[in-house]
C-alpha cells in the first residue's frame, strides 16, 4: 500500500512537472518574440529633441528686426532645491539636518571633490560634509544677490519646481512601484530664466565651480524693431492642432511642428515660418543607456529672412502719417504704403496707430477695446476702404482703351449727372461750392476730379467692363505679400451681388456710375492703391515683392499673378492729368515736392463712407415678450451679450449701432476717408511719359480725413521728400567720397 501511495504521489508530481514544462515551452519558445517586443517597449527611452534657434528677420540693409539671441538660464540641482524648500527658505548648514535625497547628492559631490582633489584640505569627512551643506545654503543668498532676484521669488520658484517634480514622481511610482528616484530628481532645474549676459557672467564667476549650479545656454526671441513694424513682423504662438495638421513638414521628424512648439502666427513670422524654422537636434538613446546615445544630431538654426522694408523710411513715414492723422478733426487712424515702382519692392508699410510688440501680451484687452483707433488692424494691407476718386485713373484708362471716350472728348459738368436723380450723382464741386466744372476732357477731368465725366465713362463702359478694368489693375486680388492679413479688396460681380445685396441682386448702370468714382461696394487696400500708382508710373502691373534674397538680390513675389503691360498712348493723358493734380491747378497743389529736380504726380480721393460703429445697442427678448436693451462695445459678440443673463436665456432680436465715429454732424453728411495715390519722377520726364529718375509709388489713406488733397496729399509729399532728400544726400556723400579718393590718388 505504501508503495502504491508513493506511486500515486509520484504520478501527481510528474503531472505538475509536465504542466510546468509545457508552460515553459509556451513562454520561452512559442511566445518568445512577443516577450522580446514587450521588453523592447519597456526599455525604449523617449528620443530627446533639442530646440533650434529661429532665423532672424532683417530689413533691406541687413539690420536685424527680430532675432533669436542667446540668453542664459541659471539652473540649480534638484537636491539643493529640495533642501531649500523643505527648510522653507532657511536651509540647514549641517549635513545631518538635510533631507535624505540631499544627503545622497551631497555625498556624491563630496566623493567627486575628493577624487578631483578640489575639496578644501584639512577637513575630515564629517567637516567636509558640513562645509558642503553650508555651501548649498549659501547658494541662495548669492544667487539672489547676483541676479537681483528677491529671495521670496526664488523660494516661490523653487517650490513650484519641487511641486512639479514630486507630482511627477507620484505619477510615475503609481505606475511602476519599483522606481525609487525619477530622472528629474537628478537634474538641474532653471530658476532664473533669460538672465542677461552680465548676470550670467557674474554667476559663472562666483558660483561656476559649484557643480549644483549651471548656466545653461538658451535662446530668446528679441524684437529689435520699434512699434512701426509690429504688424508686419507678426508674432509667434504655440502651434495649434490645426497648424500642425496643415504643416507641410509634419512628417519631418526634425522640422515638422510639434505640440507646444512656437510657430509664426501672423505677419512675416507666419509667411516665412518654414524658412525661419530651424532644424531641431535629436538624441536617440540605445536600449542600454550605458552604451550612450545611438544618435546625436545638433540643432541648426533657421534661415534669415531679408525684407524689402527700409526701416528708416518706415519710422519716418510712420511719424509723418501720425502727424497727418492727428492734424485733422477726427483723429483715428491711417495708412501709407511706399513701393519702388520699378521693382515693386515694398519699402514701407505703415499702419497707424501701432503698438510695441510686447503690448500684445500685456495689454491685449486694451488694444482690442480701443475703438475707433483699432491698433490691432494692419491697415496698410488689411483694411478695405472705398478707393474714391483715386480709382478714376482706372475708369479713365478703361474708357479710353475701350474707345468709349477719346482723349479730347469733352463731357460737360452741370453739377448733377442725371436729371432724374438730382440729389444722388453730383459733382463734388456742386456739393461743396454749388458750382460746376463745365466741359472737361481726359486730362482736366483727372486734374479736377470731375465726377460727371467719370459717371459718363462708367455709364458707357457698363458695370461688367468697368469691374473688368479694375481687376486688370490688380484690384480684387492680393498683391503678393503672402501675408495672411492681406485683404484681396473687393470688386463685386453679379455673383457677389446676388449673395450680398437683396435689393438689387445684379450689377446695374447706377453701380457703374458709383464704381467709376470709387464709391459703392468697391473696396481697395492702401497696398493695392500704391500698386495702381506704380502701374500708372511705369505702364505695367505686377505683384509686389516683400522679400529679398539673403544677399539682397531680388526674390519672386508670393503671388504668381501674370504681369500686364498697358498702352503708353492711352496712359499719356492720365499721367498728364496726375501731373496737373499736384503741379497744375489741381486738387493737390499742397503736395508739390520741395526736393529739387523731382516732382510728384498723383490723384486725390475723398471716399465717402459710413461712420465706424463704436458700440451696439442689443435688444433681447424673453419668451413672454418682455424686452431689455444692453449697450456693449462693438467687439462684444452675441455669446458675450447673452452671457450676463441667467437661464432661461432670452433671444437677441435686434442690434443697432449706438455710438458712432465720427459723431454724425448736424448737417448729416457722410464722413470721408482722405486718399492720395501718386508717384515721384524726375522733372526731366516729358509730359505724359513713363516716370524717369527715382520713381516711388506712394499711397496714403487718412481715415475720416475728409479731404484727400488737404489731408493725405501733404503726408505723401513729406514721405516722398524724406525719401528723395535722403537719396540726394547719399548721392552727395558718395560724390564727396569719390572726390576725396580722387584727391588722394592725385596727391
Amino acid at each position: 500500500m505504501f508503495f502504491n501511495r508513493l506511486k500515486w504521489f509520484t504520478i501527481a508530481m510528474t503531472a505538475v512537472a509536465v504542466l510546468i514544462v509545457v508552460r515553459l515551452i509556451d513562454i520561452q519558445v512559442v511566445r518568445a518574440a512577443e516577450f522580446e517586443a514587450l521588453a523592447d517597449r519597456m526599455l525604449t527611452r523617449p528620443t530627446v529633441y533639442l530646440s533650434a534657434p529661429r532665423g532672424s528677420i532683417l530689413d533691406r540693409d541687413g539690420r536685424p528686426l527680430v532675432e533669436d539671441t542667446p540668453s542664459a538660464d541659471i539652473a540649480v540641482h534638484y537636491a539643493v532645491i529640495r533642501a531649500y524648500v523643505a527648510a522653507e527658505g532657511r536651509p540647514a548648514t549641517e549635513y545631518a539636518a538635510l533631507p535624505a535625497e540631499t544627503r545622497d547628492y551631497l555625498r556624491a559631490i563630496a566623493r567627486q571633490q575628493r577624487r578631483d582633489e578640489t575639496a578644501p584640505p584639512d577637513l575630515d569627512v564629517a567637516a567636509h560634509r558640513d562645509w558642503l551643506a553650508t555651501a548649498f545654503a549659501d547658494t541662495w543668498g548669492l544667487l539672489a544677490e547676483l541676479t537681483g532676484t528677491p529671495p521670496a521669488v526664488l523660494l516661490e520658484r523653487a517650490e513650484r519646481i519641487d511641486r512639479r517634480v514630486q507630482s511627477l514622481k507620484r505619477h510615475i511610482t503609481a505606475r511602476n512601484p519599483t522606481v525609487r528616484a525619477i530622472r528629474e530628481e537628478h537634474e538641474l532645474h532653471p530658476l532664473v530664466r533669460h538672465a542677461d549676459e552680465q548676470q550670467a557672467l557674474r554667476v559663472r564667476l562666483e558660483l561656476g565651480d559649484q557643480p549644483w549650479i549651471r548656466v545653461q545656454p538658451g535662446s530668446q526671441r528679441m524684437n529689435r524693431a520699434d512699434e512701426t513694424l509690429t504688424h508686419l513682423l507678426g508674432r509667434l504662438g504655440s502651434a495649434s492642432a490645426e497648424r500642425i495638421e496643415q504643416d507641410p513638414l509634419r512628417e519631418d521628424d526634425l522640422r515638422g511642428l510639434r505640440a507646444r512648439d512656437l510657430c509664426g502666427i501672423s505677419g512675416i513670422e507666419r509667411v516665412c515660418d518654414l524658412e525661419l524654422r530651424g532644424t531641431r537636434g535629436r538624441i536617440v538613446y540605445s536600449l542600454d543607456p550605458r552604451d550612450g546615445p545611438s544618435e546625436q544630431l545638433p540643432a541648426s538654426p533657421g534661415h534669415d529672412i531679408r525684407l524689402t522694408i527700409d526701416s528708416d523710411l518706415q519710422r519716418a513715414a510712420y511719424d509723418i502719417v501720425a502727424e497727418g492723422v492727428q492734424a485733422h478733426d477726427h483723429p483715428c487712424g491711417g495708412a501709407a504704403v511706399v513701393l519702388d515702382a520699378n521693382t515693386r519692392e515694398v519699402l514701407a508699410l505703415v499702419s497707424y496707430p501701432s503698438y510695441p510688440a510686447a503690448d500684445y501680451r500685456e495689454h491685449y484687452r486694451d488694444l482690442l477695446a480701443d475703438v475707433p483707433a483699432e491698433p490691432l488692424r494692419f491697415r496698410a494691407v488689411q483694411n478695405r476702404y472705398p478707393p474714391g476718386s483715386t480709382c478714376k485713373v482706372i475708369s479713365l484708362y478703361g474708357a479710353l482703351a475701350d474707345g468709349v471716350l477719346t482723349e479730347h472728348s469733352e463731357v460737360i459738368c452741370d453739377g448733377p449727372f442725371n436729371p432724374r436723380t438730382p440729389n444722388a450723382f453730383r459733382c463734388w464741386m456742386f456739393n461743396t461750392y454749388g458750382q460746376s466744372h463745365g466741359p472737361r476732357d481726359a486730362t482736366t477731368a483727372i486734374r479736377d476730379s470731375c465726377n460727371p465725366y467719370f459717371y459718363t465713362a462708367g455709364d458707357r463702359l457698363g458695370p461688367a467692363r468697368l469691374t473688368e478694368w479694375f481687376r486688370t489693375f490688380g484690384l480684387g486680388r492680393t498683391q503678393g505679400t503672402g501675408l495672411i492679413e492681406e485683404s484681396a479688396g473687393l470688386v463685386p460681380d453679379d455673383d457677389w451681388m446676388r449673395r450680398n445685396r437683396r435689393s438689387a441682386p445684379r450689377l446695374g448702370p447706377a453701380d457703374a456710375w458709383n464704381f467709376s468714382i470709387g464709391q459703392g461696394e468697391i473696396g481697395a487696400t492702401p497696398l493695392q492703391a500704391a500698386n495702381v500708382a506704380a502701374t500708372m508710373a511705369t505702364g505695367h502691373w505686377e505683384p509686389v515683392r516683400l522679400l529679398l534674397s539673403a544677399s539682397g538680390g531680388p526674390r519672386p513675389s508670393a503671388s504668381d499673378a501674370a504681369p500686364r503691360t498697358f498702352d503708353a498712348n492711352t496712359l499719356r493723358p492720365i499721367r498728364a492729368g496726375m501731373h496737373a493734380v499736384v503741379n497744375g491747378n489741381g486738387t493737390a497743389k499742397v503736395a508739390r515736392l520741395t526736393t529739387p529736380g523731382y516732382e510728384m504726380c498723383g490723384k486725390t480721393g475723398s471716399a465717402q463712407t459710413s461712420p465706424r460703429t463704436l458700440s451696439n445697442r442689443w435688444t433681447v427678448e424673453w419668451p413672454d415678450g418682455t424686452r431689455q436693451e444692453r449697450i456693449h462695445p462693438v467687439h462684444v459678440g452675441r455669446e458675450a451679450v447673452l452671457a450676463e443673463f441667467d437661464e432661461p436665456r432670452p433671444k437677441i432680436v435686434g442690434r443697432h449701432a449706438y455710438e458712432r465715429f465720427p459723431t454724425p454732424g448736424a448737417e448729416g453728411g457722410l464722413p470721408a476717408h482722405a486718399w492720395f495715390i501718386g508717384y515721384t519722377q524726375s522733372k526731366s520726364t516729358p509730359e505724359g511719359a513713363a516716370a524717369r529718375g527715382r520713381c516711388y509709388a506712394i499711397a496714403v489713406c487718412i481715415e475720416f480725413g475728409d479731404s484727400g488733397g488737404q489731408k493725405a496729399g501733404p503726408v505723401a509729399r513729406d514721405i516722398a521728400d524724406y525719401l528723395l532728400a535722403r537719396q540726394q544726400e547719399w548721392g552727395r556723400a558718395s560724390e564727396r567720397e569719390q572726390e576725396l579718393q580722387g584727391r588722394e590718388r592725385g596727391s
Partner: protein
C-alpha cells in the same frame, strides 16, 4: 504490496544527492551575483559599499564579489555544516526530541506574535509591516522556515506506530499539530510559508495510509469553503493576487503596470530568455532593473532569462533527481519513522519548488515563497539543508528489521 528491497549504496546516494544540490546552489549563487549587477536591483547594495569613504581592501573585495552573493555563500557553507551536524545523531535519537524541537519553534513563533499583540520585544524587526524574523545581529532567522522541518519530525513521530488516523476522529491530532503553527504564522503574516505546511501534512497522511475518502472529504470541504473565504476571509491584496493570475492575458496596460506588474515582468524575463538564454547577467531588460525580486522569489525567472529553457529544464531535472532519491530512501527504509521523515522532506522541498516555479510562470498566485536551495535567504537554505540532512541520516542508518514493512495496511 511491494516486496522489493533494493540496496542503496551510500556512494550512489552521495553522488545522486550532491550533484543536484550543488547544481542548484551554484546556479542560485551565480544568479544572485547577476542580480547585483543591475542598478535597480540588489546592485544598490554594491553602490552603498562603494559609497563608503575609506574603502579598505576587505570592503573592496566584498564589493567585488557582491555582498548578497557573499552572504549566500556564507549561508551555503554554514548550511553544509548544519547538514553534517544532523548526521551526528541517529535520526531516531533526533526523533526522541521531536516534540521538544516542535515546542521550541512554536515558542519562537509565539514570540513574534507576542511582539505584535502584547509587548514590544527587542530583536524583532518590523519589515514591510510583517514580523517574520528574529535578529541575531550578523544574520536574521525566520522561525517559520524551521517550522517545516519541526513539523515533519513531529508528524513522523506522531504517526509512526499508529493507525488511529485511519479514522476520521483520529485525523484531528495531526491536523491540530499543523494548524497551531499555521495560526501563528498567519498572524506574522506570511501566507506563503503557512500554505507550505499543508502539502507536508497531506502527503505524510496520504503515504502513511490515511483513508483516501477522509482526505478527499477534508480537501472537498476546504475547497467548498474557498469561495466563502475569497469573499469574506481574504484581504483586498490577497484577492488581487488571484485576479493577477486570472487576468494575466488582459490587454489592459493599466493592469499590467499596476497589480499585474510583477507577474508580467517575470514572464517577460522568461520569454526574452528564449531557448538558450542571454548568458550571465541576463538581457538589458534585467540589467535595467525591470524584474523586481529577481534574487528572491522570482529567481527562477532570472535563471530562465540567463540560461533559457535549457536552464529551466535543468533546474526541474535537479528537483526530479532529489525526489527520486528521496522516495528511494523512503522505500528501502523499514523504519516507519524514517519512512515518514523521508517522504516529508521530499514533499517539503519539491512542493515548494513546484509552487515557486508555478507562480513564476503564471500558474499559481504570487505569494512570498523561495525556490529551495536557489533563492537568496539564510533561513530557507538552512532549513532545507537540515531537512536534507535528515533524509541522508535516514538513508545511512537503515535498521535491519525483520518486521513487515510499515504502513502496508490492507486497503
Amino acid at each position: 504490496m511491494s516486496k522489493r528491497r533494493p540496496a542503496l549504496s551510500s556512494n550512489l546516494l552521495a553522488i545522486s544527492l550532491a550533484v543536484p544540490i550543488l547544481f542548484l546552489a551554484a546556479i542560485g549563487i551565480a544568479t544572485i551575483r547577476a542580480s547585483e549587477l543591475d542598478p535597480g536591483g540588489a546592485g544598490e547594495a554594491v553602490a552603498a559599499f562603494e559609497a563608503e569613504v575609506q574603502a579598505d581592501w576587505i570592503t573592496r573585495t566584498v564589493a567585488w564579489i557582491g555582498p548578497l552573493s557573499l552572504r549566500q555563500l556564507a549561508f551555503f557553507a554554514t548550511g553544509i555544516g548544519l547538514f553534517l551536524a544532523v548526521q551526528v545523531l541517529g535520526y531516531r535519537r533526533i526523533g526522541l526530541y521531536a516534540y521538544w524541537i516542535y515546542g521550541l519553534v512554536i515558542v519562537l513563533l509565539a514570540l513574534l506574535i507576542i511582539d505584535r499583540y502584547i509587548v514590544d520585544l527587542p530583536r524583532i524587526p518590523v519589515i514591510r509591516n510583517t514580523r517574520r524574523w528574529i535578529d541575531f545581529g550578523a544574520f536574521r532567522i525566520q522561525p517559520s522556515e524551521f517550522m517545516k522541518v519541526a513539523l515533519i519530525l513531529t508528524l513522523a513521530r506522531y504517526l509512526r506506530f499508529r493507525d488511529s488516523f485511519r479514522t476520521l476522529p483520529g485525523l484531528v491530532p495531526p491536523f491540530l499539530l499543523t494548524l497551531l503553527p499555521m495560526a501563528l504564522i498567519l498572524k506574522q503574516p506570511d501566507l506563503g510559508t503557512l500554505l507550505m505546511l499543508l502539502p507536508v501534512l497531506f502527503a505524510m497522511l496520504f503515504v502513511a495510509g490515511a483513508r483516501l475518502r477522509h482526505l478527499v472529504l477534508v480537501v472537498v470541504v476546504g475547497l467548498a469553503t474557498l469561495p466563502v473565504f475569497y469573499v469574506f476571509g481574504m484581504k483586498d491584496y490577497q484577492r488581487q493576487r488571484i485576479l493577477v493570475l486570472v487576468r494575466q492575458n488582459t490587454t489592459d496596460e493599466k493592469w499590467h503596470t499596476g497589480p499585474g506588474y510583477q507577474l508580467r515582468q517575470g514572464l517577460t524575463a522568461l520569454g526574452t530568455g528564449g531557448v538558450l538564454g542571454e548568458g550571465f547577467g541576463g538581457s538589458t531588460f534585467i540589467r535595467q532593473g525591470l524584474l523586481p525580486e529577481e534574487h528572491n522569489d522570482f529567481i527562477f525567472a532570472l535563471i530562465g532569462n540567463q540560461w533559457g529553457l535549457a536552464g529551466c529544464l535543468l533546474v526541474i531535472l535537479a528537483y526530479i533527481v532529489i525526489v527520486v532519491v528521496g522516495l528511494e530512501v523512503a522505500l528501502v527504509t523499514n523504519d516507519p519513522f524514517g519512512r515518514l521523515l523521508a517522504v516529508g522532506v521530499v514533499v517539503m522541498i519539491v512542493a515548494q519548488a513546484l509552487l515557486n516555479i508555478c507562480m513564476n510562470i503564471g500558474l499559481a498566485p504570487i505569494t512570498g515563497m523561495t525556490l529551495p536551495f536557489v533563492s537568496s535567504g539564510g533561513s530557507s537554505l538552512w532549513a532545507n539543508f537540515i531537512a536534507l540532512g535528515l533524509l541522508v541520516n535516514v538513508a545511512l542508518r537503515r535498521p535491519m528489521l525483520i518486521a513487515n514493512p510499515p504502513f502496508e495496511h490492507g486497503e
